[in-house]
Amino acid sequence: MKKNYVGGKIFAALTYVFLYAPIVVLIVFSFNSTKSRTIWSGFTLNWYKELFNDSLIMSSLQTTITVSVIASVAAAVIGTFAAIGFFNMKKNWRSPLLLVNNIPVVNADIITGVSLSLLFVSVGAMLHFELGFGTLLIAHISFDIPYVILSVMPKLYQLDRNLFEAAQDLGCTWFQTIYKAIIPEIMPGIINGLLIAFTMSVDDFVISYFTAGSSVQTLSMTIYAMTRRRISPKINAISTLLFAVVLILLVIVNVRESRQYKAEIKKDKVLKGVLE
């Protein structure tokens, strides 16, 4: 028994090493004074300075963040309404539609990318528009929506069936029912979907590559284009910064949650005391 316990600890440690060793290497080499990825030749903050002076990286970072924020918010709105619509359908309609919703999730990115690109190019030829920020944004919204629907649906199934009728009995219009009774109840699902959609958008390379056109470029595309000359340590620097931001956000969220949890326990105790 004891031996197993040690084995488990080693296993856990190895898991963390495999997960985080690459990130540690990346962070360490963002401070390396030469461009080498293998030889440590001294500490420098130069790459961070160059990073902020590189207008191309900065503008593509801005594009990535703008697209991801708008696309994930739009997808959250559209996806939530779609999920509510699916939920209220008859079952023999709902099941096939949900299945169709799942296809983009499991489908290869490259197929989504190429087909969207073909669609935009052919429709664009008719309506006289070109690939650009607009098409990039539409592409992102469209591949984000299924994730929102997938995370909102379970919350809807958990809803009390009588909630709709109760709200309408109390004088809500159908829109107020959704807005005042349903949405607050399924909010955790929406937020979850929004976050997944956001990460998907930040992450995406293939679909953006095919739909961005000639005037905009996301960060992942900029990084990919660097591969001829070897990826610059500036990319290590920006990855380090992104990692740090995510880490800090996670810490804040966790601290807040544990504080809320503790506050609730305290409240419970006080209540108990009062009752007793």
Partner: protein, 345 residues
């Protein structure tokens, strides 16, 4: 009520859809498509401030990728900066617009030896942006002194040799070593070069592209062909590394600025090309990129040590034997593809 609201929502969504795509053509812009990590980005701002032309700047990682994006359609680049052989391919396929050199006075600053190169013999379509040579990078403490391609085919260096991981560059080395032109279409010569590569394969450590940086810097391999400008970054990390342009001659590459056929902003594109050809700008680029500027004034004013200068601005005698790629006929390209698949399998 329900229906009206859903129709309104649909209408708004459609409106968003199209508003995002149209518009934005009134302001002065130029769409530039360049290699990744291939510019001093401060210059873009400087150009925007001086001319009031907004630069939409995008990057690619290979000539072939750029070519497929142009062919795919739906994009409207004005300036592209392909390498020599891709310039000639674009010319052959009628994808480039002849330049109006009256708008590009800085063309007079371009080194004469880089004008009218084989890929654009009458120099109607392109202005050189950066250039450089391919040479042998080697660790002299392991393989001794090197002045010929023969070192890459020498069994005493077995296991320490790296080779380009693409058919064109690999074949060019074999052809040059045999004393042929690297643009040859003669099947006999190509076969001999192929046999040489086949014989070389067992003594190679591997076919690589940018992994060569790590392998040579860490001493995992000791000799391999790569670009002069990139040698300088490797030398920073491993001072034992040396560089030579082999006596048989080598490949000189030129990346040149071109304007695409039917470019919407041709005047702005030419303003951009002219700006980038200026001495100050070309020098700034050369310092950031580490490749050689085609501007003849830069070599005199650039502030670099003699060692770096010797690598980046090689003397004419070494250059005289070097060749630039031109686009090969489809037949020969098919031969390359077939031979490369056989070699690597």
């Amino acid at each position: 009520m329900k229906k009206t609201v859903s129709i309104v929502i649909c209408a708004i969504m459609l409106a968003c859809l199209f508003s995002g795509c149209g518009g934005g053509k009134a302001a002065k812009v130029v769409n530039v498509y360049n290699w990744g990590e291939y510019i001093d980005t401060d210059l873009l701002e400087q150009f925007e401030n001086e001319t009031g032309i907004k630069v939409n700047y995008k990057t690619y990682e290979s000539n072939e990728q750029m070519y497929s994006v142009l062919k795919q359609g739906g994009v409207s680049y004005d300036v592209v900066i392909p390498s020599d052989y891709m310039v000639s391919r674009l010319i052959n396929e009628d994808m480039l617009e002849p330049l109006n050199f009256a708008n590009i006075p800085n063309y007079s600053l371009i080194e004469d030896s880089l004008k009218n190169m084989a890929y654009d013999a009458e120099n109607k379509y392109s202005v050189p942006y950066m250039w450089g040579t391919v040479g042998i990078i080697y660790d002299s403490t392991v393989v001794g002194e090197v002045d010929s391609w023969s070192a890459l085919f020498d069994e005493k260096n077995s296991g320490n040799i790296l080779m380009f991981d693409n058919s064109r560059d690999a074949m060019a080395i074999a052809l040059k070593y045999l004393g042929y032109s690297m643009n040859t279409t003669d099947e006999n010569e190509l076969n001999k070069a192929y046999e040489l590569l086949e014989k070389q394969k067992p003594i190679l450590q591997g076919y690589v592209m940018d992994q060569i940086f790590d392998k040579l810097e860490s001493g995992e391999a000791a000799i391999g062909p790569y670009y002069a400008g990139d040698y300088l970054t490797m030398h920073e990390a491993n001072p034992n590394l040396k560089f030579c342009i082999p006596k048989e001659g080598s490949n000189v590459f030129v990346d040149a600025m071109c304007v695409l056929k039917n470019a919407e902003n041709k005047d702005n594109a030419e303003a951009f090309i002219n700006f980038m050809s200026g001495t100050q700008q070309s020098m700034a680029n050369s310092e950031i990129i580490g490749y050689t500027s085609p501007n003849k004034e830069v070599g005199d004013v650039i502030d670099i040590d003699d060692f770096t200068k010797g690598i980046m601005y090689p003397d004419g005698a070494a250059l005289a034997k070097c060749e630039a790629y031109i686009n090969l006929p489809q037949e020969t390209l098919n031969y390359y593809d077939k031979m490369w698949v056989e070699l690597k399998s």
